[in-house]
Amino acid sequence: MIPLETIDPVAATGLFSYAWLMIALPALGAFVLLGFGRYVEKSGPYLAVATIGGSFVVAMALFVQMLAAPVDQRAVSVQLYTWFTTGTWQLDVGLLVDQLSILFALLITGVGGLIHVYSLGYMAHDERKRRFFGYLNLFVAAMLTLVLADNYLVLFVGWEGVGLASYLLIGFWQYKPSAAAAAKKAFVMNRVGDLGMVLAISAMLAQFGSSAFIDVNHGAEHLAPGWTTAIGLLLLLGACGKSAQVPLQAWLLDAMEGPTPVSALIHAATMVTAGVYLVVRSHAIFDLTADARLAVVIVGTVTLLAGAWIGCSKDDIKKVLAGSTMSQIGYMMLAAGIGPAGYAFAIFHLLTHGAFKANMFLGAGSVMHGMNDDVDMRHYGALAKYLPITFWTFACGYLAIIGFPLTAGFFSKDHIIEAAFGQSALVGTLALLGAGVTAFYMTRLMLMTFGGKKRWLDGVHPHESPAVMTVPLIVLAALSLVAGAVMNWWIQEWLEPAAGNHAHEVELLPTPIGWLTMLVVAAGVFVGWWVFGRKPIPAVAPQGNVLAVAGRNELYGNAVNDTLVVKPVLGVSRAAVAADAKAFDGFVNLLANALGGLSVGGRRVQNGYVRSYALTMVLGVLLVGVVLILGLGA
């Protein structure tokens, strides 16, 4: 497979020189909101929304200008300043605005902006609203830094910023021990991935003498195959951490402890998409190493099935959606791992997923808003009538995710399944199976939440959310329906210069595999209805079979982590503590005791009488004088 030569970016002119505004605006917002506290207590949230809006306008303007530019001038690099120079390395801070990053910028600022607006309503009664919006702005600024960076080091800055912001937001209600623990868990597991990133960047600096995308793209061909594979695998480790892929998936489900808009932001617009972005952005590396690509495919496939499985068995509406995110990101990783044939599809699915998953998360938030923040779907039921807007918008998201014809997911997911069959029959079959399971658990979610009979707890009076929350839902629902159709014939060509993918002809009419997919999806929907739609749903979860129990326990991911990592590490720590207490402290204490004994003697000399000290001085002078004279004499 010969990688396509990507087109080098041209220097920034005109409007593109102001690309940094995209990052600067939300960063400024975060600074003002977090730094000037009570001065902006009231106006802060609106300021936050305004900065994101401004970012979106800038991104849109750049996008329009890029559309108008000829293909070879669409990628633009904006040099900002030199970060530092050390030895032979000069590290510049620069932005790369190309076809890939501008799509991300639009997704982040667009969906992120809608989530901001939604949060105005959702967090209206929270005392620390201002701080929440500050963190949201920080999150967006970090994510924009990540996608707009023109080298891996600046990308890493954004990468860590995203990790920090996610920590702050997941643990936003830190007075809940579970939230605090979830935040810590997310942070620590992300650090594992970050280790891979750091090593990968170090390897790049060592091998290419630079971490700029352009140098890596050019230098990759001349690299020893072992190095490319190593860098590829390390990047994959980083991507796994950020995108919650197996084996670093465990934090994502716990991350539901954060406020729902945060979950939406993490799952749709920021954070988890970073891994996919990283793999696509590093296509020059992955194109050259089939082994690393295979690892990506395996990780993606395993995750998509694991996520779907978890989604099937959870009763917590947010955790079902979290499982679904894992699964969908698995699809994207799978597509990205397929290589040039899949990059565009990965990004395509990422964008459509950003729309419909944000829609569904915000919908779930709206449901919770109406149900006194209860997340257990077994306490829902028959909500379609009481929350009409939420229901209809959620339904749009539902259709999009299961791949109902002509909705967003239909286009993007089918392409991935097709490409997976192109990779190997096994992977394709598994991806197909995943699509069926997706249809099953999403149907289950819809039926348990909106269908059936009331199973509400006492004192719950569902009500529709205010307009500030429903309008973003409607916008996102519309996107869920049409985004696929809009981008289907366009995105491959658009991304070709940036992602180095091969453009395929796409038809409106499904291919045989497309038909098969629709069949499997229909079967999934039917099974979902068969199990959950015909008879009332028990208010307490039934015992369930082995598969369901495993799913409820998140496939024992935590137990595995516990056994494989936590316990050995604790054991080593205990051993280290014991060694420290016995061996090192023993030695040190011995020394200390010896010195202590010495000082007891010394204290006698220190009697506190000035005259005695004066005497000592005189005697000392005498001694030194005598020694000097004798020394000179000798």
Partner: protein, 261 residues
């Protein structure tokens, strides 16, 4: 020059010994003053008129007076006792002092050779003693000179801070003082009025003179306690006897004059 030296040197040694041997600090300070004045004279004889003036003005004039002020300020308490409290301090001090003396005399012994040059030539070259010092002070040593200004200002500020006492209680007004006095009278029977004057006799009315009570005994409050402790208190009974005698004589003379008339 030699004569000057041999006059001054014994005086200085005597002064130094007086400094460390007098039990009363005031005498020590005065012995010190003697040493310093003699030292100034030696400076003059060593062609150092500038230092001569400085020594008199700064050391004898300012520093020693400061010592005396502080001495008076902290009160002339009981003289040092002669009993040594630190074990072995005296003997070891003696050994140390003798050793030091021996060491330095030994080292001086061979240190200086050849005739002294005297400062006449240098003074001529510089245009005078003060000019010579000034050239060095504002030439080679100007940096040190500037540093001493920093040192002095720091010392002045430091002394002010150290000697300054923060008022911790509110200042007592007339009313509070009167209340306290009445309270003391109520609790302990202390007399609320002012203390008695010192005694006034025909031959003495100094503050060291105690006043007498109507019954002829001494009023203890009429003399400052410090004076009493120092043993400076005069004997009023003697004074009274003297006064009475004088009065008697005067009256007798008057009577005689009256009789004559």
């Amino acid at each position: 020059m030699t004569i000057v030296f041999w006059i001054c040197a014994p005086l200085m040694v005597l002064g130094g010994l007086g400094l460390i041997l007098f039990r009363k600090a005031v005498y020590s300070a005065l012995s010190m003053a003697l040493t310093m004045v003699c030292l100034a004279v030696l400076y003059a004889s060593l062609d150092a008129p500038f230092l001569f003036a400085i020594q008199i003005i700064v050391y004898t004039g300012a520093i020693l007076m400061l010592f005396l002020f502080v001495l008076m300020l902290v009160g002339v308490d009981t003289p040092d006792s002669i009993v040594e409290t630190i074990k072995g301090q005296r003997i070891l001090s003696a050994i140390g002092a003798l050793g030091l003396l021996g060491l330095m005399i030994f080292s001086i012994g061979g240190a200086v050779t050849g005739p002294s040059a005297g400062l006449a030539g240098a003074e001529q070259a510089a245009g005078g003693n003060v000019q010579g010092i000034a050239q060095l002070l504002f030439g080679r040593y100007v940096w040190v000179f500037e540093l001493t200004s920093a040192l002095l200002i720091t010392a002045a500020v430091g002394a002010m801070i150290l000697a300054h006492a923060q008022r911790t209680k509110p200042k007592l007004g007339q009313r509070e003082q009167a209340d306290a006095r009445m309270k003391a009278y109520a609790d302990q029977g202390t007399h609320p009025g002012s203390l008695p004057n010192s005694g006034v006799f025909a031959t003495s009315n100094s503050i060291a003179t105690p006043a007498l009570l109507p019954d002829g005994t001494i009023a203890p409050d009429s003399v400052s306690q410090t004076l009493a402790e120092r043993g400076a208190q005069l004997d009023s009974t003697q004074l009274r006897a003297l006064t009475a005698e004088t009065f008697e004589r005067a009256e007798r003379i008057r009577d005689e004059e009256d009789e004559e008339l």
